[in-house]
Symmetry: D3
Subunit: 271 residues, 6 copies
C-alpha cells in the first residue's frame, strides 16, 4: 500500500490500521537536520487525523542506528543557530528572538509525536508512548557535550518517564551512554528484543492489539494519561469527567460490551 | 468484636486499632456494582474518623479474586449509564449531565480510600497507600476492552504511583494482564507473598506497626506525601510548614521522644 | 589546598574544580544540630557562586555513619522546639510563629544543596543530584518515631525521586530501615560500591567528568531538570526556551563543538 | 407553592423555576450559628439538583440586616471552637484535628453556594454569582476584630471578585465598614437599589431572565467562568473544549436558534 | 501602501510600522464565518513575524458595527457544527471528536490575536491588548442566547480583563447588552471616543507611540504581562528573569538610554 | 525614638508599634541605586521580625518626589549591567549568569516589602499592601523608555493589583504618566489626599488602626490574601485551614472577643 512521498521518511502500511514510519537517512545514521524535523511534524500530524490509521510504529531505517541524533556536521557549520556567521545577529536580543523561533519550531515538531492521536509503539525518544528496543541499542543524552542544555523536550520529559531521579541526573549531566538492559531496568523502555527485526516485529504486534480496540477508548486513555501525569489527581479527575461525558456516549461501548459478552471480535467505526 | 452491618462488605477488628475490610460478594468474584461503591464510601468515611481505628487492611473475600472489577452483567444491562434505554436521555447534554453526576459520585467513592485518614495496607487499586499481593494475583486495567477510558481514578493515579511511563501506557492502552512479579518489578506493589493468607498476614503485620506509632505523625506523613506528590517542591514545603505549626505542638512528640530515650513502648491518645 | 574554616564541616579541594564537603562530627556520628544546618547553607551558598568549583562531593566523615540524622539529645532537651520549657510559648499562635521561623530556616538550609549551582555527587539526602552509597549503608525516614511528620524536605521530595509510591509510603509511614541494595533497586541511589572508600572514589570520578564539561551546559541541565520535574511539560518547554536564548549564545558551544570535531579536550572559562 | 421545612431558612417559589432562600432568624439579625450553615448546605445542595429550579435568590429576612455574620454569643461561649473548655483539647495537635474538621465543614457549606448549579442572584457573600444590595447596606470583613483571619472563604475569594487589591487589603486588614456605594464603585456589588424591597424585586427580575434561557447554557457559562478565573487561559480553553463536546450536542441549541430566527420564546427541557 | 489580498479582511499600512486590519464584510455587519476566522489567524500570524510592523490597529469596516459576532445564518444552517445533518455523526463520541477539532481550530485563531508579537490597539474582543471604542458601541456576550457557553476565549479571558466578578457573571449569564460608558466604567475598554473616526484616530495615535519605542522592550512587556497574569508572582518573577537574561543584552538599551540622556529620538533595528 | 542608622533611609518610630521608613536621597529625588535596594531589604527584613513594630509607613523624603525610580545616571554609566564595559562579559552566557544574579538580588529586595510580616500603609510600588498618595503624585511604568521590560516586580504584580487589563497594558506598554485621580479610579491607590502631609497623616492613621488589632490576626489576613490571590480557591481554602489550625488557638481570640463583649480596648502580646 503506497503513501505520500517524503524526503527523510519512509511511511508504509504493513497491515490495515497500522503505519510504519522510518527515518530514512541510513547513510548518515539517520542524523537529524532541520528539514527532517519539519517533515516529522507533517508526517505525524497527517497520521494523527487519518481515520484509517490507529497505531504508528516509528523506527530508524538501516541496520546501524535508530538515529545518531542531531547532525553534528550541520550544527558545527557556520550559519547554524549555534555558530552564527561573524557580525550576524550582532544584537543578542535579536539573536535571542531568532533562537526562540527556531527552538519553538523544533519543540513543536518533537511534541507532534506525543500529540499524535494515534498511539506510537516506537523505539524513539521520550515523546513516544511505548518504547521498545533491541539488545544492542545504545542510548545517550548527549547535548551536554556540545555545551548545550537541550530545550527540545528530553529534559522536560525525562524526569516524568522513569522513576529514579538520581539516574536521570546521572545520564543527563554526564552525557554517558547506557545500554538496552540499563534502559529496561530503569523503565525507559518496556521491553528489549534480541535483534532490530524482533523489535520491529514486537512493535507491530503491539500496534495490532491497539488497532483492534475501540479507537475512541485507546485514544482517550492516551490523552488522559498525558494530561494527568502533569497535574494534581483532583485536576485530572475533573478534566477526565468533563471529557468523558461526550465520549462515553459512543456506540463503541455497546459494541465492545456486546462482543465481550458474546465472545466475538468487535469492529469499530473509523474515528 | 462486631461492627455495623454492611451488605457488600465485611468489616472486622482482628486486633485493637486495626480494621479489616473485605469485599463480600465472593460468588460474583467481588464484582463491583453501584450499590457497592456507595457503601465503600460509607465504610471508609466512618473508619476515617473513628478514633479507635489506626490502620485498615482492605481485601476481597473468598479464594478466587480480589475483585474482577466492574460487574459486566450490570454494565451491559439496558438502563446502565453505558447502555441507556432507547429514547432515554435523547438530549446528549442532559445525558452528559447525568453521566457527570454518576461519574463524580463514583470518583468520590474511590477517592474516599485515599482520603481515609487511616492508612490502608491493602492489595486494592491505585488509591490505597501500600499495596501487597499474593503470588497468583493477576492485575489489569481493562476498561479499554469495553470501549471506555476509565475516569474514576486509575488513569489519574497510575502515572504517579509507578516509575516507568512506557510501562504505564503499555498496560493501560493494551488492557493486557500483568502478574504479581511484574507488579513488584514495576513498583505497583511493594511486596509479593506466596498465598493470599500470607498476604493478609503481612498486611496485618504492617498495620500493627502503623497502629503503634503516634497517630498524629503517621496521619500527617500520609497527608504530606499525597499533597506534595502533585505539587512543586516549593509549594509542598510551604504547605507542610503551615500544617505542622499546630501538629508539632502535640503531646505525642515528648511521649515518643521519652519512650525512645528510655527504650519503652510509647502509648498515644486517640485522635 | 586549604579552605575557609568551618566548625561542623571539612571542605577540601581534592582536585581542581572539585570540592569535597564532609560533615565533621564523627564522634556524634555526624548528628545534625541547628548550628550545623546553618553552616551547611553557608558552605553550599559559597560553593554555589565560587567560579573555581564545578562539582561538589558531599559525605560524612569517620567510618561509621554518613549521619544519624537530627541529634536526639538536642531534640529531647528542654528548650528545643519540640520540648519547650514549661510556660514558654504559652500562646499556641506565638509558638506557631516561632516554629514557622525555625522550620523555614531549616528548609532553606536543606534546599541550599538543591539550589547549589554546582552539581553534587553525594550520598546525602533527597536534595542531592546524584546519590551513591557503600554496601553497608542503612537508610531510614525516622521522624515518625519521634511523633513528627518531617517538613524539612524529605516528604516533599521523596515521591519525586523514586518511582514506586507504595514503597515511598511503606518506608515513610513505618519508619523502617532499608539497605543499600533496596535503595538501589528502588532507584533512591544510582550505584552501590563495596566500601565507603570506593563510594568516595566513585563520587570523585563522576565529579571529575562533570568538571570537564562546559559549566554553562551542566549547570543548565541541572536547573532544567529540577524546574521541569514539578511542572507540566508545556510549562517546562516554555521556560527552557526563554532561559536558553541567552545561554546558547555562549562561547562554550563553539568551543565544545570544535573540540568534538577535532577530538581534542575542550577548556571552558570560569562561570 | 410550599417547600420542605427548614429551621433557619425560608424557601419559597415566587415564580416558576425560581427559588427564594431567606435566612430566617430575623430577631438575631440572621446571625450565623453552626446549625444554620449545616442547613445552608442542605438547602443549596437540594436546589442544585432540583430540575424545576433554575435560579436562586438569596437574602436575609426581616428589615434590619442580611446577616450580622457569625453569632458572637455562640463564638464567645465556653465550648465553642474558639473558647474551648478548660483542659479540653489539652493536646494542640488533637485540638488542631478538631479545628480542621470544623473548618472543612464550614468551608464546604459556604462553597455549596458557589457550586450550586443554579445561578444565585443574591446579596450575600463572595461565593454568590451576582451581588446586588439596597442603598443602606453596610458591609464589613470583621473577623480581624475577634483575632481571627477567616478561613471560610472570604479571604480566598475577595482578591478575585474585585479589581483593586489595595482596597481589598484596606477593608480586610482594618475590618472597617463600607457602604453600598463604595461596594458598587469597587465592583463588589453590580447594582444598588433604593430599598430592600427594590433589591429583592431586581434580584427576581434577573432570576427570571436567567430562568428563561437554556439551563444547559447558563449553567455551563457559570461553570466555565468559575473554572477559568483561577487557571491559565490555556488550561481554561482546554477544559472548556473537553466539557463542551457533549454539551453543545444539546437539543437546546437548535431550539434556541430556531426561536431566535423565528422571534419566538423558546422553551427548554428540565435539566 | 498595498498588502497581500484577503477575502474577509482589508490590511493597510497607514504609517510606517503600523498595520490597520479591518474586518471586511460590512454588508453582513462583519459577521464571523469559518472562512473568516481561518483567515484571521493567517493575517495575525503574518503580522506577528513581519519585522516592518510594530503595532496593529484592528477594527470593523463600515459604519454600523465592529462585528455582530458569529453569523447566525451559518450557525443555523443544517450542516453547521450546531445543527448537524440528520443521521450524520450518529455516534456522539465521533461527533465530539469533530467538535473538538472545530473548537480547537477556532480557539487557536482567536488566540493568534493575543499571541501576535505586535501590540494591537484595537476595539475587538478580550484577546486584544488595548481596547478603545466609540460612544455608540454596544457590547454583549450573546452565546447564551443560542444555548451555548462559548469556549472560544471570552469566558476564559473575561474574568481576567476586568475587576468586578459580579459584573462578569451578570453580562455573561444574562447575555444583556452594555454600552461604551459601562464598558469604560468596568474597565473593559480604556477609552471612549465620540465617533468611530475618533476611535480609529486614537488607536493610530497609540500605535504610533508604541512603534517609536524599542520593539524588543514593548514586545517583552506584553509577553511578561500575559505570562504573569495567570501565574503566581513567584513563577512570574522566575520566568521574567530567565527571559530577560538575553533580552537585556540588546543594543536597544544603550540606544534608548543615549537618546534619553541627549534628548534625541532613538531609532531601533527591525526585530 | 531613634533607630539603627541607614545610609539611604530614615527610619523613625512616630508612635508605639509604628515605623516610618523614608527614602532619604531628597536631592536626587530619591533615585534608586544598587546600594539603596540592598539596604531596603535590610530595613524591611529587620522590621518584619521586630516584635515591637506592627505597621510600617513607607514614603519618600523631601517635597518633590516619592522616587524618580532607578537612577538614570547610574544606569547609563559604563559598567552598569546595562552598559557593560567593552570586551567585558564577552560571552553572552556568562553575562547572562551575571544578569541573573543581579536581577534575582533586585527582585528579592523588592519582594522584601511584600514579605514583610508587618503591613505597610505606603505610597510605594506594587509590592506594598495599601497605597495612598497625594493629589499631585505622578506615576509611570517607565522601563520601556530605556529599552527594557522590567523584571523586578511591577509587570508580575500589576495585572493582579488593579482590575482593568486594557489599562494595565496601556500604561505598561506606552510608559505614559498617570496622575493620582486616574490611579484612584483604576484602583491602584485606595485614597488620594490633598497634600503629601495629609497623605502621611492618613497613612499613620491607618497604621494606628492596624497596630491596635491582634497582630496574629492582621498578619495572617495579609498572608492569606497574598497566598490566595495567585492560586485556585480550592488551594487557598486548603492552605488557610492548615495554617489556621495553630493560629486560631491563640490567646488573642479570647482577648479580642472579651474586649468586644465588654466594649473595652484589648491589648495583645508581642509577636
Amino acid at each position: 500500500m503506497s503513501q505520500k512521498n517524503y524526503t527523510n521518511f519512509r511511511v508504509t502500511i504493513p497491515e490495515p490500521w497500522i503505519a510504519h514510519v522510518e527515518i530514512n537517512r541510513p547513510e548518515q545514521l539517520n542524523a537529524i537536520i532541520p528539514d527532517l524535523w519539519l517533515e516529522l511534524r507533517t508526517v505525524f500530524d497527517q497520521l494523527s487525523t487519518n481515520p484509517s490509521i490507529r497505531a504508528v510504529v516509528f523506527s530508524g531505517s538501516g541496520e546501524r542506528a535508530f538515529s545518531v541524533g542531531i547532525d553534528l556536521k550541520w550544527v558545527s557549520k557556520e550559519g547554524s543557530p549555534f555558530i552564527p556567521r561573524p557580525n550576524e545577529y550582532a544584537d543578542p536580543a535579536r539573536r535571542a528572538a531568532d533562537l526562540r523561533r527556531f527552538g519553538a519550531e523544533f519543540q513543536e515538531c518533537i511534541t507532534s509525536i506525543e500529540k499524535c492521536q494515534k498511539r506510537a509503539a516506537a523505539d524513539f525518544c521520550s515523546a513516544a508512548d511505548i518504547r521498545i528496543c533491541s539488545k544492542d541499542t545504545i542510548f545517550s543524552v548527549k547535548e551536554v557535550d556540545i555545551g548545550i542544555a537541550s530545550d527540545i523536550g528530553i529534559l522536560a520529559r525525562l524526569p516524568k518517564v522513569v522513576g529514579s531521579y538520581t539516574w536521570v541526573k546521572d545520564v543527563a549531566m554526564t552525557g554517558r551512554n547506557f545500554d538496552a538492559d540499563e534502559a529496561r531496568r530503569e523503565g525507559f523502555v518496556s521491553s528489549v528484543l534480541p535483534t532490530k527485526k524482533d523489535a520491529i516485529a514486537e512493535a507491530l504486534r503491539i500496534a495490532k492489539i491497539l488497532s483492534e480496540k475501540s479507537p475512541v477508548a485507546v485514544q482517550t486513555v492516551k490523552h488522559f494519561l498525558d494530561h494527568s501525569r502533569d497535574r494534581t489527581v483532583a485536576e485530572g479527575l475533573q478534566y477526565q469527567l468533563a471529557y468523558n461525558t461526550a465520549v462515553v456516549q459512543t456506540n463503541d461501548v455497546p459494541a465492545a460490551i456486546g462482543a465481550l459478552v458474546s465472545k466475538k471480535v468487535p469492529t469499530f467505526e473509523k474515528l
